[in-house]
C-alpha cells in the first residue's frame, strides 16, 4: 500500500509539470499583445517596447517558461491587465465559491444517486427500477444549462420561492453566525445555493445511480452475499455492509470523475445563476482576453482536478487493499 501511494505520488509530479507546460503553450497561442492591451492602441513603439521588457515578453519562450515556473513556485500567478490586481488575489475567493458549489452539488448527487441506485437494484424489474432508470436516462441527457434555466423559470420567476441569482454569505461564515444565534445569513446562503447546486448535481446523480445499480446487482449475486444471508444476518446489514461496501470501489472512482465533471458544469451553472466563482471568472477573462487571468484560472481548474483524482486514487487503497498500480 505504501508502494502504491509512493508510485501514485510519483506520477502526480510529471502530470502537474505537464499541465503547467500545456497551459503555458495555449497561452502563447492566444492572439493579442499584452503590452497593447495594457497601454491601448495609441501607445508609441517605445512605450510598448519598455512595457514588453518590463513584463519579460521580449525574452525567448524557454526563458519565459522558466520564469513562469519560478513565479508559480512562489505562488505568483501574475497580474490581471484589466482588473489591475494580482491574479492570485482575484482567484482565491472565487475558488472557495466554486468549491462550495461543487461540493454541495457532489453531496446532492452522491446521496440521490446512491438512494436511487440501491433502490433500483433491490427492486430490480419493478416500477421503482423503471422510474429510477428513466430518471437516470433523462438526467444524463439533460444539458445542465437548460435544467438551470427551467428551475429558474419555475422556482424563481413563477413561484418566487428562491432568489434567481447571486450568492449569500460563504457557508462557513454563515454557519458561524448561525451558531452564534443568527440563522438569517445561513438560510439566505442555502436559498442562494439550492438551485445552482441542484442544477449542477442532478446530472451526476443520474450517472452515479446507474453505476450504483449495476455495481450492486453484480455484488448481490455473489456467493458471500448468500453466505451472509445464510448466517441469518439482518437483511439491511447484508445489503449495506456486505453489499454496498464491495460495490463501493467503482462508485468512489466515478465520484472522483464526477467531481471533474462538476467543475466543468460549474462553468455553465455559475454563468446562469451569477455565482461569483471560478467558472464565471473563466468566461469573463476569456471574453476580455485577459491573458494572465485566463492562464491562472485554467491552471487552477486543472490543478484542482488533478488533486481530486489523486485523492480518489489514494482512497481506493483504503476501501480495497487489493488495488495495485497497473
Amino acid at each position: 500500500m505504501l508502494a502504491y501511494t509512493a508510485g501514485r505520488l510519483a506520477l502526480f509530479v510529471p502530470m502537474v509539470v505537464g499541465i503547467v507546460v500545456v497551459t503555458f503553450v495555449i497561452m502563447q497561442l492566444l492572439p493579442g499583445d499584452t503590452a497593447i492591451i495594457l497601454l491601448g492602441e495609441d501607445a508609441t513603439p517605445q512605450m510598448l517596447a519598455e512595457t514588453r521588457a518590463a513584463l519579460g515578453l521580449d525574452k525567448p519562450w524557454y526563458v519565459r517558461l522558466g520564469t513562469y515556473f519560478a513565479d508559480l513556485a512562489r505562488g505568483d500567478l501574475g497580474r490581471s491587465a484589466f482588473l489591475n490586481e494580482s491574479v492570485a488575489n482575484i482567484i482565491a475567493p472565487r475558488l472557495w465559491a466554486t468549491l462550495e458549489l461543487a461540493l454541495v452539488a457532489l453531496l446532492i448527487s452522491v446521496v440521490l444517486g446512491m438512494v436511487l441506485g440501491v433502490a433500483a437494484a433491490l427492486w430490480r424489474g419493478t416500477l421503482v427500477d423503471t422510474f429510477a432508470m428513466l430518471f437516470a436516462q433523462i438526467g444524463v441527457s439533460m444539458p445542465v444549462f437548460w435544467l438551470g434555466i427551467l428551475l429558474m423559470l419555475l422556482l424563481a420567476v413563477n413561484l418566487g420561492w428562491l432568489p434567481a441569482i447571486g450568492r449569500g454569505e460563504p457557508l462557513s461564515s454563515a454557519f458561524g453566525m448561525a451558531l452564534a444565534g443568527n440563522p438569517g445569513p445561513l438560510l439566505d446562503s442555502l436559498a442562494h445555493l439550492a438551485m445552482p447546486a441542484l442544477t449542477l448535481g442532478l446530472n451526476s446523480a443520474a450517472v452515479i445511480s446507474r453505476l450504483v445499480r449495476s455495481a450492486m446487482l453484480e455484488t448481490l449475486n455473489q456467493d458471500f452475499i448468500r453466505t451472509a444471508h445464510a448466517k441469518g444476518l439482518l437483511v439491511g446489514r447484508v445489503i449495506l455492509v456486505h453489499g454496498l461496501r464491495n460495490a463501493l470501489l467503482p462508485i468512489v472512482s466515478v465520484i472522483g470523475l464526477r467531481f471533474g465533471a462538476l467543475l466543468g458544469g460549474a462553468v455553465l451553472t455559475e454563468n446562469i445563476f451569477g455565482w461569483p466563482g471560478l467558472g464565471q471568472l473563466a468566461v469573463s477573462a476569456m471574453s476580455q482576453r485577459d491573458i494572465p487571468l485566463i492562464q491562472g484560472v485554467v491552471l487552477c481548474f486543472a490543478l484542482l482536478f488533478a488533486l481530486v483524482n489523486l485523492i480518489v486514487d489514494l482512497a481506493y487503497t483504503v476501501i480495497d487493499p487489493r488495488v495495485r498500480l497497473d
Binding site: L30, Q137, I138, F145, L153, A261, V267, A282, M286, V298
Partner: protein, 281 residues
C-alpha cells in the same frame, strides 16, 4: 411486447430519434417556406400555429426553420469532432498498446495531461487561443475527446496482442502496420463504435454549452445553445424560446444516448467501453 424488441428497445427508440433529427436538419430547408434570417417584427413571439409550427422568435423569425439550421450545425460539429477524435485516438491507442514499453509510457502520460483538464475548460482555453468559429470548435472538441478512444483502444490492444492470431501474423512476417490495421483493428472497433455513439451525445451537449457561453459558432448562426442563451433575456415574459431550444438539445442527446446504450448490448457485451469511459460532460 416481444422479448427481442423490449431488450433492444433503447436501440430502436434511439435510432428513431436520431433519424428524425437528421431528417429534420437535412430536409427542412426544402420544406420550410421561411428563410432563417427573414424578420417579421409584428409577428414576434408568435405562438405555434399552422404557419409557424414552433412559433417565432424575438425578431419574428420562424423558429422551426432556425431550429433545423441549429440541428444541422450541432450534428455536423458533433460528427466531425468525434470522427477526428476516433481516428486520432484509435491510431494512438493501437500504437501505445501494441508497442508497449517507453512508447506506451510516453503516450499515456500525454493522455494523463490532457485528462488533467476539466473538458470544458480545455475546450474554452483552446477556443480562446484560436478564436471562435466552427472549425476551431471542432478542433477544440476533438482535443478533448481523443483521449477516451486512445485509452479504450490501448486497453483492448494490450489484451489482443497476447492472443495467438497476432503471434501467427508475426510469424508469417506481417508488418506492424498490417498487424495493427488488418488483424487487431477489427477487434477493437466494437467498443469504439459504442463509445463514439455515446460521444456524439456528449459532443452535442459540449457544443451547445460552448455556444450558450458565446464561444461556439457565432451569431447570426442560429445554434441551439445561443438561441437558448438569448432566450433567457425574455425568460420572464416569453420563456418559449429557451424551452424549445433546450428541448431540441435534450431530445437529440437522448437519442444518441439510447442508441449508444442499445449498441453496447450488441457490440460490446463485456462492457469494455463502459469500464474505460470517462464521462466528458
Amino acid at each position: 411486447m416481444p422479448k427481442a424488441l423490449s431488450e433492444n428497445l433503447s436501440l430502436y427508440v434511439g435510432a428513431a430519434i436520431v433519424t428524425t433529427i437528421v431528417a429534420f436538419a437535412v430536409l427542412s430547408p426544402f420544406l420550410s417556406p421561411y428563410d432563417v434570417e427573414t424578420m417579421d417584427m409584428p409577428n414576434r413571439f408568435a405562438w405555434p400555429s399552422p404557419e409557424h409550427w414552433l412559433g417565432t422568435d424575438n425578431f419574428g423569425r420562424d423558429l422551426w426553420t432556425r431550429m433545423a439550421e441549429g440541428a444541422r450545425i450541432s450534428v455536423l460539429i458533433a460528427v466531425s469532432s468525434v470522427a477526428i477524435a476516433v481516428v486520432v485516438g484509435t491510431l494512438i491507442g493501437l500504437i501505445a498498446g501494441y508497442f508497449g514499453g517507453w512508447t506506451d509510457l510516453l503516450i499515456m502520460r500525454v493522455v494523463d495531461i490532457f485528462l488533467g483538464f476539466p473538458p470544458i475548460i480545455l475546450a474554452l482555453a483552446i477556443i480562446a487561443a484560436l478564436g471562435p468559429g466552427a472549425l476551431n470548435l471542432i478542433l477544440a472538441l476533438s482535443a478533448v475527446f481523443w483521449t477516451e478512444y486512445a485509452r479504450v483502444v490501448r486497453a483492448v490492444t494490450l489484451a489482443q496482442r497476447e492472443i495467438d492470431y497476432v503471434a501467427a501474423a508475426r510469424a508469417i512476417g506481417a508488418s506492424p502496420v498490417r498487424i495493427l490495421l488488418i488483424e487487431i483493428l477489427p477487434n477493437v472497433i466494437g467498443p469504439v463504435i459504442v463509445l463514439a455513439t455515446l460521444g456524439l451525445g456528449t459532443a452535442i451537449i459540449a457544443e451547445s454549452g460552448l455556444s450558450f457561453l458565446g464561444f461556439g459558432v457565432q451569431p447570426p448562426t442560429p445554434t441551439w445553445g445561443w438561441t437558448l442563451a438569448y432566450g433567457t433575456r425574455y425568460l420572464r415574459t416569453e420563456p418559449w424560446l429557451s424551452i424549445v431550444s433546450g428541448l431540441a438539445i435534450m431530445i437529440t442527446v437522448l437519442g444518441f444516448n439510447l442508441f449508444g446504450d442499445g449498441l453496447r448490448d450488441k457490440l460490446d457485451p463485456r462492457g469494455v467501453a463502459r469500464r474505460v469511459r470517462r464521462n466528458a460532460t
